[in-house]
Assembly symmetry: D2
Homo-oligomer: 413 residues x 4
């Protein structure tokens, strides 16, 4: 029999940018007995999580919860709003933007991929993967689309592969400035509930998200937040869809139920997650992640290693990508760290394979877990022969000691 | 804050035909910490559950595990094997067969629905919903299809809406007898791991199943068992697909991984479920459910109420549908039973709404939980004014006392 | 490796009169991470459970919580209030009263055992074990004790070995009527939080209780509720004591801490138990157990078997003892029921060994679990060759269907 | 309702020297359903844990498991072997040795307290609390006891208040060299299952231990390992005892049961703990703790702060006591660290109050949790104005990176 609890002594440090470390409160909630998804107790649960998740997306409009992992929610967004052959504008911010583009193409959509217009001298193999979207490029392209053939603009809010966020409000402004009717679809799978996000205020038509990042749940449920315009687009969209179809779900959700069997036990977890996040206050949650990101980046800067995100204005509060020196296989470093220190880091994805690793600072973490992560990485880099400019651990400690979390100050008072 | 543990004192009796009562062992397994889905520990887990689930389907070929609930696996079976406009032959055994047919139609497939050819005098509103598939009708229809336009035959193994099973081997024989190349696709969502099922031996091309029935897991993962012919059909099938696409999943599953984020914590549950089921032995599992079904039907017969399944040869070992007398609203009875006895029963679905309720006898149950269910139903029927011919509880007790489970005999020895 | 989850399919029916079935909510609470028993979070937990448990005992005075099982709390009551050679008056209501008497004797206390004065024709081997205490005998004995040598009167509130309760208020009245200064010490290990109990109002000096009965916790913590007179008696009592000594515990409890390491995880369970019991309301809890007892006794009466408690005025709401016909080994019946129906019943203890079994109706139960227990017992009796006068299951169902629980009525409204 | 999960975001760092951090595996085991302590499943559990715990104590003789916390096991050892007025020789190694001495005195035993004979210039208020027992002093004292009035020698194996171990084998040699019949009683509450311990080989008569240290369980069960000579002494010992009495327990343990209700759910935890410890191998467990202690002490040395244990030969592998500079209130530092970094450290006990804090390195820990603890302490010391000679974190990292755990090397191979 496989021993499921496979890690050696002590707790594993799961510092990948998702699945994030799941709080014990949520793990315990997952183990509640499964109930009848057509009974009155389920309706109360459904209504609660549907109301709560709208608060997290900051929307007054429907949020569909799928009993499926995040990749499915990408497909849902496309298949509910588009027809075969429709043309969409996407922006290559990294690996996940590329995967979404491939999915769209696979579903029979015509995709156009905008790329960052500047230069990235030090990572020539992945141009643009160190920056967020450029709204001006989007605006310019839409202005040219006088026939309004572009049906949607698709961007990623927080690129999990690079640690770069994008200014979503600026994309909406660009679309509006161009007077273009295209829908705005945003992947905030790894941004939601960690980085500030405002579905309604920013004029997003479909936001895609998942459970296993800022919501601190295991993977297995995913989301579409849907604007009235997107719901309207659904009526004429002809891509085949059934499981992902919004109409029946939105209708049945009014009472807290689903047309097919929902993912009951993960909804227990979502209920607990919402209690935690809304109890803390979303602004406090965002500030907490910003502070964590700063503390981790202090370490990377002290080491003298380049941060994947080249633009401090759009540093991700969720993860930090670190570029390893040429000749150092980032995955070999990761493996060594895993073996020696029971610490999991994110790999370099796609074009970044072997030259980058990613440090997650999200989920069930705190100052000491992040210092421990930094320490594990620092030991691993040294054991791998990387020369470091200085002590990252010291820099992180200086940052965290010097910038008390507001909650800790309050507690001390 | 919503109290998730919403039931009053004592344990709720979840006697719907799925989600089935989840064993505590599995609930605890769900609460294991989420791990890196790209790390070595995950690969070991993936390889274990992929090997084990093949044993449960009785197949040597790939079984795809989706991080999505069962309805998605229906869509997966269709979209991987068919092209827009393809013609498929289905058989209306009940509500779920109808839902699958609607889904196929919604996805742009041309569907043809065979109906039971006999008569059902006592439930005229739902002809055929008291019987299994008639292989002879299928064979006759296929023989007429000289142009081989029919791409697939789709049948339901265990109709969860009626408590009727179908003889899947006979369908394969019918297809072969007709010399027809159509694929055989089978929904065994509620049959797998409770009723005997043999993917390879019976010549099934795609078997669809889900987690929340015989596997005793919460809903949230689902399955496609795939024959080599089905994999071959995929190559020319042109329905758009990405999330459901078999190719990448089958490829990555070879090492125990998935192309996108799998449903880690439900896979922990699956691992535990496989340990339980394969440890007990599938034949013992099937015999256990057969015995349970007999004990519950003894009660229904004693009450003098008709069993929905009109053909004893295909009584479901998973659930028993009970037809209420005219003038008795079966859902009002169910509600009263829920309020008074904290017992959930299955509703009458589709054409059976209000005239039927369903008693589940699957999952984490035993003789006494089933006797308790029978007692709760009997009290509820009486309180609703239904005249009963005799004591169902007594009949169940006589059956269970008179037919010791082999395991109990062994224990006593 | 021993499989801890050792029961076969389905949930075990734990219908012994304690340990009672533990609600899942409490089991989950037990699995919270252990914390520093000297830290601020622990103090908050300690203060909460200490305040809550006083409500359950209905006392304004200290309740000491021991990190030890109930037998220890008996010893604590004695060793804190008595000196070697002290004389105490006890009343033989059953096996546990006898065990407590043996313990007192072993600790060097002089014990005097009053026995029921009536006759018990049908169970001559255990005279008095079918009745509660007789306050008049106590009063008479105390009146004779003109030298006030009797230091304490010790009685059992709910005799777990017989299913008989005793009228504690009447004992206090007897002591007062005799004008005697003896302390009143009461074992309510299996009565507390199931049967009405009022430490202050009834003038009890020390009440002993445990976790594994009405509080629905696993065994491992126990209680002494202490009157001011008992605290005063402590000052001159000279039995050696350290672990059990009240003084340091009461002092440190003021802030929510203990002088030595408390049983942290069981205190989590206690916290959850208090939320459940006080949330439901103690009067509702008591009424619930009274109704359960009536429903179970209806079955025993229908069978035509004698109930161990011969006096309906003092039927226990917690358990019912059933006397088997001569020639029927009650323990053989119990074993058969355990093997065949995965149902645990209480054995006949001490003088009742082999002639009696006990059916628990407490803890995490409801109408259907109790009907299931009755069904299991009925099948077991029949399989053992016992002739039954009628159907106990039918009688229980008639009772429960005919007497709706107030909560169910409220829910339905 | 008190939120039991009271810690802020992320996992609390419980780095007190017990209760130690409990592994999730054990927390989950605690939540198994409570069973009948008289049923066959319990007997299997009882026999397993009784056999396993003997392996941990390294004894062929009985180990009694009490459903009570560790302080009770001290009392049990005394009350089973001694009579009122008996004289015992104890050795003041620290606060817990003192507490045990006070308990003995309270129980009516005549105690004599040996004190370390050297000098401790830098902590004059606590002479001897920086060293282990001196067997030569014990031998000298016993030789003088020509009347053999000393009935027992009582020493502490691992002083939890100081982080000093004692050489138990040397004490046995001293007793034997003096030709004295005194029993050897050893408190290894915080040593067992972390530091090497050999009940039989070292000639110990009674070893006392508890659950919440090396066994990684919550508090609530405790142990007496008993030599044949101690069992023999019981027969003539006259201290009153009942709950703690060995005789009935040892007798009933032969079948895996207890005379009174055992602590079932903590025994589930013990079963899991034994699987973990014996699966890893005790020698590996001991080596793991030695390595952890070295890594933590490297930090303390780098800070330039004195370690409470003045003798490197007896450094505790379980905890390290750190003396704060004069004028620095160690408890204020601890509070600040708790508020700012959610890290619990042990306080200075008794004579060391305010001048010392204790860092635990036991239980469910690993390199990174210990580095995190060191980082938290270092930040807290600096924020409290303590001047540190160097970076403790760097020293710990250098140690851990430079000394790979054997298991990690094996994994990498």
């Amino acid at each position: 029999m496989l021993q499921l609890d496979s890690h050696p002594t002590g707790r594993h440090f799961l510092q990948i940018p998702g699945p994030s470390p799941v709080p014990d409160r949520i793990l315990r909630a997952l183990s509640l007995p499964t109930i009848d998804h057509r009974g009155p107790e389920f309706g109360a649960l459904g209504r609660k999580v549907l109301a709560g998740i709208r608060q997290v997306f900051k929307t007054q409009h429907p949020v569909v919860i799928y009993p499926a992992s995040g990749t499915g929610a990408w497909e849902a967004a496309l298949s509910n709003t588009l027809s075969p052959g429709d043309h969409v504008l996407m922006f290559e911010t990294g690996h996940f933007a590329s995967l979404w583009q491939k999915m769209a193409a696979r579903l029979g959509i015509s995709t156009e991929f905008l790329v960052y217009g500047g230069t990235d001298a030090d990572l020539p193999q992945a141009p643009g993967w160190r920056h967020g979207v450029q709204a001006d490029l989007i605006e310019a392209r839409l202005r040219k689309d006088t026939g309004k053939k572009i049906k949607a603009v698709c961007v990623v809010h927080n690129e999990t592969s690079t640690g770069v966020t994008s200014d979503i409000a600026s994309v909406r402004r660009a679309i509006d400035a161009a007077g273009h009717p295209a829908l705005l679809m945003v992947d905030s799978i790894s941004g939601l509930a960690s980085a500030d996000f405002r579905h309604d205020e920013w004029g997003v038509d479909v936001t895609i998200s998942g459970s296993q990042k800022g919501l601190m749940l295991p993977p297995g449920i995913s989301f579409n937040a849907i604007s009235p315009r997107a719901l309207d687009a659904m009526k004429s969209a002809t891509l085949p869809r059934s499981f992902w179809a919004w109409d029946e779900i939105v209708e049945m959700n009014k009472d807290g139920y689903w047309p097919y069997t929902p993912n009951t036990n993960l909804l227990y977890g979502l209920s607990e997650s919402l209690d935690m996040l809304l109890g803390e206050g979303l602004d406090n949650v965002f500030a907490r992640h910003q502070r964590w990101g700063a503390g981790v980046r202090a370490a990377v800067n002290a080491w003298g290693l380049p941060i994947q995100c080249a633009d401090p204005a759009v540093y991700s509060p969720v993860l930090t990508g670190v570029i390893t020196p040429e000749g150092i296989d980032a995955d070999a470093v990761r493996r060594l760290i895993h073996q020696r220190f029971d610490l999991s880091l994110g790999t370099g994805l796609g074009k970044l394979k072997g030259r980058m690793f990613r440090m997650g600072h999200l989920g069930d973490s705190n100052d000491l877990t992040l210092v421990a992560m930094v320490a594990g990485v620092e030991m691993g880099l040294k054991l791998s022969g990387v020369k470091l400019a200085g002590s990252g651990v010291q820099a992180s400690m200086d940052y965290f000691a010097g910038h008390a979390a507001p909650a800790a100050l309050q507690k001390a008072a």
